[in-house]
Structures are given as structure tokens and as C-alpha cells.
């Protein structure tokens, strides 16, 4: 084969290879993007759950509820001056 023949053949091969690479890159992008979408969906679901749990937690831990439970069920009281003794010399 002549010199030009070789050049032409290698250019054809290179062209083919780059074509295949383009196909692969496109395919890979789609795969990755699909994975990203799945992760984002998971993220969405988890954050939904998180905010629901957060709201649930603050409903259970609402100050009014805690106070009422502390007083009624645990019998806790606020200490007045008579029930407090300062230990040691503060000055």
C-alpha cells in the first residue's frame, strides 16, 4: 500500500475509535445522570422523613408538654430560696 493509503486507513480507524468513544461517553453520562437522579430522589425522601421526624420530635418535646409532664407525672417542683443552699464561699 502506498504511503497515502496508510494515512487514510489510520485516519479511518481513528475516526471510528472517536465515534465509539462518543457513544461510550454519552452512554456513561446517561448512566451517571440516572444514578444522580436516583440519589437525589433518595435525598428527597430522606429529607422528607427528616423534617417529619423533626416536627414530631418538637411536638413531643414542646416546652408546655415537658413542663406539664414534669409537674404532673414526675412531681418536679421549682426550688424556692428556702430549698437552696450555696456551698462554699462565693466571694
Amino acid at each position: 500500500m502506498s504511503r497515502y493509503g496508510w494515512i487514510a486507513a489510520s485516519l479511518v480507524l481513528a475516526n471510528l475509535a472517536s465515534g465509539v468513544a462518543v457513544i461510550y461517553a454519552t452512554y456513561d453520562t446517561r448512566q451517571q445522570f440516572g444514578a444522580l437522579q436516583r440519589l437525589e430522589n433518595t435525598n428527597q425522601q430522606l429529607s422528607t422523613e427528616y423534617s417529619q421526624l423533626l416536627l414530631e420530635k418538637s411536638a413531643w418535646a414542646a416546652s408546655g408538654r415537658v413542663e406539664q409532664k414534669a409537674r404532673a407525672e414526675l412531681g418536679m417542683i421549682e426550688l424556692d430560696a428556702n430549698a437552696i443552699k450555696i456551698l462554699g464561699n462565693r466571694k
Partner: protein
């Protein structure tokens, strides 16, 4: 040659015709693929590709300890494309949505391409409807704001509208920070509008930032509970309370009555959504006397022991009479504060001069916005005059002829408590440092502290006493202004002060507006609640008591058991 041509002319004709056909197809292909390529491609994309927006979540608002005060939860909004939606699905969908068939068929028989079916549904319920896979019915994620602390923080946090844009309070003031930026992605959709494939991400979502407040949820709740109790007990129409850390300027609690439930705005009255602590300027009355006295000490013309004759309990200035509740006779400056004598305060102010008093008031932050950055903040009115008439100086000295917001008063009292250094109040914990400025000399501030303690020890503020902490403060009772001037039987009861006196930590103001019962003096209605809240707040902050606790009052275990 000719003979050959004649012999095969039919074949040749067919061959040429076929070649022409191929040529035609080739030319068409070239036209489509090369010449018209861009046009065709863009038309195809216009029919198949859509850009969907991905909604960003709004940042949370949390208290100083990370307790959530406003949280966005994703909910599903159902919408329909009436052009695609088939009316035969109406009965089933109406049943699933819980609406009448009539409403639904009306809603879906327009020429629009987008109508809401139901906004903000619980995701599970919406998923059940979407699973029916009706043509033209779509779901879309939207966020809705929830306020776990409800009415306790309602006015400071504020509100968002149905599209999650801030409307009131911090939600409005910091909307830019809280709001994220929506993302965009390119998707392929089929004939029915369903997303077939996500093609690429155009812009990533940037979610909103979380905002930490200086407010302490525990103190806020405590203040809310006590203020509500006081407002109810004295049949008042409104009330406000602001609690501030005197050295940092951090607002630890800010509550208002009446309040509202921000999670259910069906019967929201906008008067309740107002953050009275910053938006409402009132004539403060006697609480301002402390500031008048500070001006007097600052001028160097007077000492706490300087005496004034207030007999016979009334005095005329420029044809107007000023009265005390009774004839106090000779009063020292401290006693003017302790007994809350209007004549005494007037005499002090006249000795110092109106201009000078005005200047100290202004330095303490009256008549200007505080810089806290909450929407709708009022600057109040602090009129300066080219020539101060005696009556103007006199009324000024005991808190009339000027208006202030509760926040301004607490800032002024905090400056006294902070040994004369005024700090700018703040509500957001974002690492910004405290802005402070010396407005009173240290000696003036210390003298004022002990004078204000006297008010609680033996004066009008006795009801604010605590067995644990030394409290200093000043009462105020001012007449409300009605359409015909000052109202004789409508009042605002106030108490402003700070504690513990040995090393002031908190400054606070409590205002009870328009009490309808028999009691209306600030010393009767505001002082007791002030004392209770201050004591409990300092205990919650683990501040050591500075009252001398008698050794005899030891902690006895058996006593505690009895109490249980």
C-alpha cells in the same frame, strides 16, 4: 452499438429510472440531514424536551440551641392539564380528592394547560392518587412551613405565604438568606406529558441556609406563659415582653399578646401578627424617669442625694398643673425614683435643661431604630425643640410627649445595667460581633443601678422582689391616648429593669396594655410577673443567686420529700 442499445433499451430505461429514484432519496436525505438539520432538530426538541424546575428547600429557623422554630416539610401538590385530562375520569378522581364531581369537571374543562387540583397534600395520600395513573394528572413537590413552637414565637418568626415567600417577621426580613435557588434539569417527555428520561442537569439546586436566632426557646416559652397569664389575669388587651442579654445585646426572648397559631392561618387576624415589641411606639410614662435621672447625674449638676421640694403635691408650669399621687414633701433624687414623683422628676429635668435630657435620651437609643433588622420597626418619636418650654421639659422628664418601643426601652435599661455601654440589640446569631458604644459614664451607671434597686427594695417596684436575685427596675403607669386626649381610665402598666444587680446579666421590659380590672398600676400588674420571669430566667441560665441566703435555710432533704 445502436443495435445493443435497441436490444436492451427497456433494461436501460428501468435502470435509469431506478437510479433517479435513488438519487431522489439521496437528495432528500441530504436535505433533511444537512440543509434542514438545525430546524428539524430544534422542532423535535421543542416537542419532546422540557426544562423542569427542581424546587429548593427553604432554610430552617432555629433557636440558639438548635431547637427548630420553622421547618419546611415537602408536600405534594396535584395539578392537571385540562387539555389532556379525560372527563371520564372525573367521578373516580373527585372521590379520591374528596371534592364534588361538579367542582372538578368545571375546573378541568378550561382551555388552560395548568390547573391546581389540590395543594399541599400529605405525600402518601398524593402518591395513592398518582398511582391511578390518570392521563393529565401530575404531582409536584412543594414545601410548606411548619412552626413547632406555634404561638410562642409567632410574631418574631412571622409567616410565609402559600408559595413560601416571607410575609412577616424574620421570614420576611431574611427571606433572601432562607430562600434557596431552584435548580433546572432537561427532561424528555412523551405524548402524555410523562417524564420519560432525565437528560441533563442544567443548574444544581442550592438549598436555603439555616438561620440561628439569639432567642432561647426555654426562656421564650417561660416569658410567653407568664405574660399570657398576666394579660389574662388583669383583663388586658395586649402585652409585650423583651428580654436582652446586657453585655452581648442578644435578644433572648421577645413575646407579645395576643398571639396566633402560625400553623393554622384560617382565622388569622393581622393585629395579632404584629410584633408589638418593635412596631408599637407608646408613651412610656414613669419608666423614663430613670433616664432623666441618668441625664442629671451625667450633667454633673446633681448627686443622688440632691434634694427637691415637691410640696404641696402639685405644681404649675406654663399654666399646666402636674400632680403627684400625694404630697411627698422633700425628696432626695433617689426618693424621686423610689416614690416615682412627677414633680421631682420635672424639677430635676428643669435643673438640667430640656436639651441636655433630650440628648441623653437620644444617646440611649430613643427616637431611632435599634438596628435589630426586624421589619416594621418603629423609631418612636423624640421631638427636639429649639426652645424648651418648662412644661415641655417637665412632661418629657416623666415620659410624656415622646413615644418609644419596648425594644428601645430595654436597650436603654441594658445600657445602665452594662455600666453605661449601650449595645445594639441583635436577633440573628451569624457571628457578627456586638456593636457597642459608651453613652453614660461608669459612675453614673453604677449610681443608677443602686438607685433603681432601691425602687424594688422599698418603692413602687416592691412586687418585683425575688428571694434569690437582687432586682433593679422602675415601674410606669401611663394614660392611653384616645380620640379626645388622654383617657382617664385607660392605662398602660410597665416595668423595666435588670438583674442580678451585683453583676447585671439580663435586662427586661414588661408592658401590660389597657388592663380592664381594678388594678392598673405598673407596680401592681407588671412588677410581680417581672420578678417571677426574671428569677426563673436567671435560674434557667444557671446564674448564681446574689441575695444573701440565710445559712439557716439549708437544703433539707426531708422538706423536699414533703413537697413531693
Amino acid at each position: 452499438m445502436i443495435g445493443l442499445l435497441l436490444q436492451f433499451w427497456r433494461h436501460l430505461l428501468v435502470l435509469i429510472l431506478l437510479m433517479m429514484l435513488f438519487g431522489l432519496i439521496g437528495a432528500r436525505a441530504i436535505k433533511l440531514q444537512v440543509t434542514d438539520r438545525d430546524f428539524l432538530q430544534s422542532q423535535g426538541e421543542a416537542r419532546m424536551e422540557r426544562v423542569d424546575s427542581i424546587s429548593a428547600s427553604r432554610g430552617m429557623i432555629l433557636d440558639r440551641n438548635g431547637e427548630p422554630l420553622a421547618v419546611s416539610a415537602p408536600l405534594t401538590t396535584l395539578w392537571a392539564d385540562p387539555r389532556l385530562f379525560g372527563q371520564e375520569n372525573v367521578p373516580e378522581l373527585a372521590k379520591a380528592l374528596g371534592v364534588t364531581q361538579q367542582w372538578l369537571s368545571q375546573r378541568t374543562s378550561t382551555q388552560k394547560s395548568f390547573v391546581y387540583l389540590k395543594r399541599h397534600m400529605v405525600p402518601e395520600d398524593a402518591a395513592a392518587i398518582l398511582d391511578l395513573k390518570m392521563t393529565g394528572v401530575f404531582g409536584q413537590i412543594e414545601y410548606k412551613r411548619f412552626y413547632p413552637a406555634g404561638e410562642v414565637t409567632a410574631q418574631i418568626i412571622g409567616l410565609t405565604n402559600v408559595d413560601e415567600a416571607g410575609q412577616e417577621g424574620i421570614e420576611l426580613a431574611f427571606n433572601d438568606v432562607l430562600e434557596g435557588e431552584d435548580g433546572k434539569k432537561r427532561v424528555l417527555k412523551d405524548l402524555y406529558g410523562r417524564t420519560v428520561r432525565d437528560v441533563e442537569s442544567i443548574k444544581a439546586v442550592s438549598p436555603g441556609e439555616n438561620l440561628y436566632l439569639t432567642v432561647d426557646q426555654n426562656l421564650q416559652y417561660l416569658a410567653y406563659r407568664e405574660l399570657k397569664a398576666a394579660v389574662t389575669q388583669y383583663h388586658a388587651t395586649a402585652g409585650s415582653l423583651v428580654m436582652m442579654d446586657v453585655t452581648t445585646g442578644e435578644i433572648l426572648a421577645m413575646v407579645n399578646q395576643p398571639s396566633f397559631n402560625p400553623n393554622n392561618r384560617a382565622n388569622l387576624v393581622y393585629a395579632q401578627a404584629r410584633n408589638r415589641s418593635v412596631t408599637d411606639a407608646i408613651e412610656p410614662g414613669s419608666v423614663v424617669k430613670a433616664l432623666t435621672l441618668a441625664a442629671a447625674l451625667e450633667s454633673g449638676k446633681l448627686k443622688p442625694t440632691s434634694e427637691f421640694n415637691t410640696s404641696p403635691g402639685y405644681r404649675r408650669y406654663d399654666g399646666h398643673t402636674i400632680r403627684d399621687t400625694r404630697d411627698y414633701g422633700k425628696l432626695s433624687m433617689t426618693d424621686v425614683l423610689v416614690k416615682s414623683s412627677n414633680i421631682g422628676a420635672s424639677e430635676i429635668a428643669l435643673t438640667v435643661g430640656g436639651e441636655e435630657v433630650w440628648k441623653v435620651f437620644y444617646d440611649l437609643g430613643l427616637g431611632q431604630v435599634s438596628g435589630i433588622g426586624l421589619p416594621g420597626e418603629s423609631a418612636g418619636l423624640l421631638p427636639n425643640r429649639p426652645n424648651w418650654k418648662d412644661i415641655e421639659t417637665a412632661t418629657f422628664s416623666y415620659g410624656y410627649g415622646l413615644t418609644v418601643t419596648p425594644l428601645q426601652l430595654v436597650v436603654a435599661y441594658a445600657a445602665i445595667a452594662n455600666n453605661g455601654v449601650k449595645v445594639q440589640p441583635m436577633m440573628i446569631r451569624d457571628g457578627t460581633s456586638t456593636v457597642s458604644k459608651r453613652v453614660l459614664s461608669e459612675s453614673t451607671a453604677t449610681k443608677m443601678q443602686s438607685m433603681l434597686e432601691q425602687v424594688v427594695l422599698k418603692g413602687t417596684g416592691r412586687a418585683a422582689q425575688s428571694a434569690l436575685y437582687r432586682i433593679a427596675g422602675k415601674t410606669g403607669t401611663s394614660h392611653k391616648v384616645g380620640p379626645e386626649g388622654y383617657n382617664d381610665n385607660r392605662y398602660v402598666g410597665t416595668f423595666a429593669g435588670f438583674a442580678p444587680v451585683s453583676n447585671p446579666r439580663l435586662a427586661m421590659i414588661l408592658i401590660i396594655d389597657d388592663p380592664q380590672g381594678e388594678k392598673y398600676y405598673g407596680g401592681e400588674i407588671a412588677a410581680p410577673a417581672f420578678g417571677r420571669i426574671m428569677e426563673a430566667a436567671l435560674q434557667l441560665l444557671n446564674v448564681a443567686p446574689d441575695q444573701a441566703l440565710s445559712d439557716g435555710a439549708a437544703f433539707v432533704a426531708s422538706e423536699l420529700e414533703v413537697a413531693l
